[in-house]
Symmetry: C2
Subunit: 260 residues, 2 copies
DNA sequence: GCGTTAATGTTAAAATTATAACATTTAGTG
DNA sequence: CACTAAATGTTATAATTTTAACATTAACGC
């Protein structure tokens, strides 16, 4: 009977909603059925709950335990991101107030922040906030507003004003496209205001992008390349790539491009 | 050698920072050691990573997969919370703009919101935001500010103003203490401003508390009991309990207390 | 270099979890 | 009421994960 199966799953989902895991054994007891029935519910019905080594967890929980495992390839693709952030972290100093942009690029940076004694992170991204909230040594300021699921970030009218009120030391900005002529761009328009405000306020502006973004233009323009003090990227030939992909660029001076 | 173990864990933690799980096998390969060494790292060193059925997950991820399992007792204690929220949800209607307070009381309510077609949730709590962010049918407005880990919520100067700008329909407020004479109170002072602003703005004010909070006074007072239109609680004798625990209360009229 | 100790690897056994097959119960139908 | 089919339970078996013991390797001091 399909209906009862759905009821059980709803019950379990509600039990898991506030976080945590539930052992299959406990789940079975909670629903007063056998473990096998719970297993069958999970495989038969489409559900947000997944079974991980005998324990039920919410699969869709943000940043949480997704169904997909990081395979080796993903892990090595992660390596690239990680190295990129390793270079970026060289610019961070004790006591800094950092603006951290949304997206996945800067995520590997965050866990590294635990090595510092005291930092402040300003962000408008939920995934960034979650990662930073777990760090006891880092003060977190989240700029709220209406949530945009696509970028896991918030947008609001007075975000620019809120950013300008903060004493941001260094802005770490990510981008989806970088072109010498057409400038630096991203996908979502609501990201433009916070990025621009951070660039305007910060004492030091770092653009953190992997080389695959060079020569690419995305819908939302938010800065010229020379608005940044430093461009942190991952390939040796990145500056050349940047030049070759755009047309005429004699007068534009690339800032100090960091290449390990 | 302790140092290398820590290095490996750092590497793995960074790999997991952006969410996801890593199979023990892949973790071992990533670090170029045997699975056994990873196991030992995990048991020897204190770390935020936990092993769940052969997969590495971040244990401290907010609302995420904590190390503790919900035992039966916790699950049944959850039952109480769940029933409380079941009563609260009766007041929610299609299209509502809800203010959801911080704390764990209202968490079971959130997954129930998926049954509606369209809702808006306003909150200043990170755990609430995370749960709501996963719901495609609910618009999320997060009120940001400085993060307070103790209550998983944010505080800022202009939060009251931000709340008053929003058209909040119903405010669902939780509390740590309710006393007829001394009013409604919570633990943290930074919660007072948002709670009061929500109470001031909302068209309908619901206090959602289990009966164990009656007769209790906590440091931060934020409202009188009759500031609320509805008190949702879980025990039959709750209103009586409320009366008996305070001293003289002839003139105070308890609003419509919901008891199933 | 040698001996010592910590770190890591290997292997086998134990415990747990997953899968499959078949038995039993329950709900619905004529 | 008997019959059918879906749902659930039970059991055995396979696969995986965990634990423990011992072997091997690497680091360090003298």
């Amino acid at each position: 009977m399909n209906g009862r199966s759905a009821l059980r799953l709803a019950k379990l989902q509600e039990a898991l909603a506030s976080g945590g895991t539930l052992h299959l054994r406990d789940a079975a007891e909670l629903c007063d059925v056998s473990e096998m029935t719970i297993r069958r519910d999970l495989t038969t019905q489409p559900t947000a709950i997944s079974l991980l080594g005998g324990r039920l967890v919410m699969a869709n929980y943000p940043g949480v335990t997704p169904i997909y495992d990081l395979t080796e390839q993903q892990a090595s693709h992660y390596q690239a991101k990680y190295r990129l952030c390793q270079r970026a972290i060289a610019y961070i100093e004790e006591g800094d107030t950092l603006f951290i942009d949304c997206g996945s690029t800067l995520m590997p940076l965050l866990s590294q922040l635990s090595h510092f004694h005291e930092l402040t992170v300003v962000t408008y991204a939920l995934n960034v906030a979650n990662a930073v909230a777990a760090l006891p040594n880092v003060r977190l300021v989240l700029l709220g507003g209406l949530f945009y699921a696509a970028s896991q970030s918030f947008g609001s009218d007075n975000m620019a004003a809120a950013i300008e009120r903060l004493g941001i030391n260094k802005a770490l900005i990510s981008a989806a496209g970088v072109d010498l002529e057409r400038g630096v761009s991203c996908f979502h328009f609501h990201e433009v205001a916070p990025k621009q405000a951070a660039i305007a306020t910060a004492m030091q502006r770092l653009l953190v992008v992997d080389a695959s973004k060079f020569g690419v233009v995305r819908p939302a323009y938010f800065a010229a390349l020379d608005d940044f003090d430093v461009v942190v990227t991952d390939e040796e030939g990145a500056p050349q790539l940047l030049k070759s992909n755009s047309r005429v660029v004699p007068e534009i001076v690339i800032p100090s491009v960091t290449v390990a």
